[in-house]
Symmetry: C2
Subunit: 402 residues, 2 copies
């Protein structure tokens, strides 16, 4: 939702030239072994430029151990378990002693890998005084500022470790989070989780851009993940950016954005379209015919008014067109909000970027101040994580930290 | 989960003979027009003997109107909307005035019908003094008793109207509930909702029995929904049972059953299997080899102990084998329980039966008292609804009430 506009190329502080000169380092990932399997190992983590699966289970963990040496042990165990699960194998040895708890919780037995991916990251809190990691904090990792209008609730914020688990099957994704939590027992506990969905591929024969719960297409202007150069510019931390352990990584921003669907549903179609700056049915920018037509921000009506209103979401998200992010959001629905009696539904916004403070934060500052959509949404959860580079066979996720 | 045992045939108060003599009345439903569409109209409502879709959105509504005449108006509007949505058409005319709110919220545009079904029912509360319907209350509809160990929370209980919405796509199911709520504005409000999932058909090539979040197969002993005689015995209200408007209907019981997954996951495999009375991996009854082998309740070990423990779930659910229900449950996962910091996950148990007090209640009374599973589960939500018979084109759901 945020960033629906067709944002221009990123021109980072290093300038396009120097970024390109150093690109090609993260060439992406090897081909999957089957349609249903996405390799766990690679130069970069899966789940970032991977085409969006149908479901997400996002999980934020807090470390409860005080021993620094427990963290790499946990990450190694998680690496092993995640690699197995992405191949559709159970966690641990299923011929183990029946007088012990099963190594795997079992609900994914017999199911395909369902394109399961894990994307691990660490939050700013991990680099406090507890584990002696303060010197390792990446320069681009810090708590996000409070934005105007934020209505954050602690139960959906932060976390020492964040894991985006995606799959084409929700039971497979849930199983993965549950087993990570089980493996972490005594070292880390779940802080918050949120499931999300989009229309399944099966329901949408055409591969159309999915729609969010506002009824509008969401992701029209996302950068092309098949463009490796562009991904180096927008998503992957480059050698010029950061100390060693984050090279080939990325930063994940997660925002739980509640949509006041009941209010939105009482709003006239004209007003909805003016709010977005796009037509609902086609996804075309106002004044254009087709979804992928250029967004004409300078176009005027006969009366001299902007065709795309000054506070339309598409205009504010775009800004000056210099910054882009990779959005990988899902809709969520979590029953009734007890405080209001209305649906607790909205968008689990997830974005990846090379530098959250150069890309996400300026965009969100503009949106929080000016976006016409603010009348219908509120940000109730927030977190940011530095996502590790990929791991090679024999290695473990986050090993560069230690 | 409840009722996993291979329950015998129902022998209702009327006796098998008289039931059979009157059966054949509800012959089921006409064939769907496409793989992705399940007809809305028919002798009986869809979503009961319909093979389980991948997802459920259950919604309970409370009427806020005080005018009795508003209820049939709402049911007629819901009928029209539901029929359209099951065909993959938007609610209302999409060429309507853009200076009005859209007739459809839009997030399912372009998606297939995804086997969408609606199953409407009314709760005991509807027959209080508000709407002059007390005389129409079916004799088999009443509030469920409080069972030992129930930890019900008002936020997941009851409702004047209950709607089970199922589909192979979660966004399609959510869209349906949201539009029902929107249409009800001023007449009824959502009281509680719960989404649920099972493994998607795509993830399970074999059509195996799905597993619940305990890791065990769930539904092995469900009666065969293709057996029309059996469905007349177990599910459909017969002419001998009930006054006119419920004939061809059924009773839906909904229980939100929290599973203490963290505790279960620390339990030895032997203990888990003794708790169920089945092997986890194969689903076979203890002492047997294959999932569909008969449950040998009388078998003894060499030491003379029962092979299937006296308090095993499969044994207690079965009882004397005289009563059967049709289970149509889904797993749920709803983030973290703030009170315990643990996963709020479990089973949205849904069952259909001719008479909840002859079928569900005795079974649940046994389970609540003796089931070994009780150590790991708690019932936190509960509702019962009298589900209308099917509706013919031109009619509306529940019309027999008025």
């Amino acid at each position: 939702m945020a960033g629906v506009g067709g944002l221009g190329l990123l021109v980072g502080s290093a300038g396009v030239g120097s970024v390109l000169a150093e690109s090609g380092m993260w060439r992406g990932r090897t081909a999957p072994r089957s349609n249903e399997q996405i390799p766990f190992h690679g130069d970069v983590q899966a789940g970032i430029v991977t085409p969006s699966q149908n479901f997400v289970c996002f999980a934020a963990f807090d470390l409860i151990t005080t021993r620094a040496e427990d963290l790499p042990v946990l990450l190694r165990k998680w690496t092993d378990a995640a690699a197995r699960m992405t191949e559709g194998r159970p966690v641990g040895d299923e011929n183990s002693n029946p007088n012990l708890p099963p190594a795997d919780t079992g609900e994914a037995f017999g199911l395909s890998p369902s394109k399961l991916t894990f994307t691990f990251g660490v939050g700013p809190a991990l680099f406090d005084s507890r584990f002696g990691l303060a010197a390792k904090r990446p320069s681009a990792l810090g708590e996000l500022p409070r934005f105007p209008g934020d209505q954050l609730r602690a139960e959906w914020c932060g976390g020492d470790i964040g894991v985006q688990v995606c799959a084409d099957d929700l039971q497979v994704a849930f199983h993965a989070v549950r087993n990570l939590a089980r493996i972490a027992r005594g070292t880390a506990v779940l802080r918050w989780t949120q499931e999300g969905f989009q229309r399944t591929a099966a329901a949408s024969g055409s591969g159309d851009t999915p729609r969010n719960l506002l009824g509008f297409k969401d992701g029209t202007a996302n950068p092309d993940t098949k463009d490796a150069k562009l991904m180096n510019q927008v998503v992957w931390v480059q050698p010029s950016d950061e100390q060693g352990w984050m090279r080939g990584g990325s930063y994940m921003v997660v925002r739980r954005i509640r949509i006041r669907v009941e209010v939105w549903d009482r709003t006239h179609l004209n007003e909805q379209e003016a709010t977005f700056g796009r037509h609902r049915d086609s996804g075309a920018p106002l004044g254009a015919k087709s979804e992928f037509d250029p967004v004409q921000l300078d176009a005027k009506t006969a009366a001299g008014d902007p065709v795309i209103p000054v506070n339309a979401h598409v205009r504010i998200a775009r800004g000056d067109g210099s910054m882009q992010i990779l959005r990988r959001s899902y809709s969520y629905s979590s029953g009734i909000d007890r405080q209001t009696g209305q649906l607790d539904a909205g968008l689990l916004f997830i974005s990846y970027q090379r530098d959250p403070f150069k890309q996400f934060v300026p965009m969100q500052q503009r949106l929080a101040k000016m976006d016409a959509l603010n009348e219908y949404i509120s940000h109730v959860g927030s977190a940011v994580f530095a996502c590790f580079p990929g791991v090679q066979p024999g290695g473990y996720i986050g090993e560069g930290l230690f």
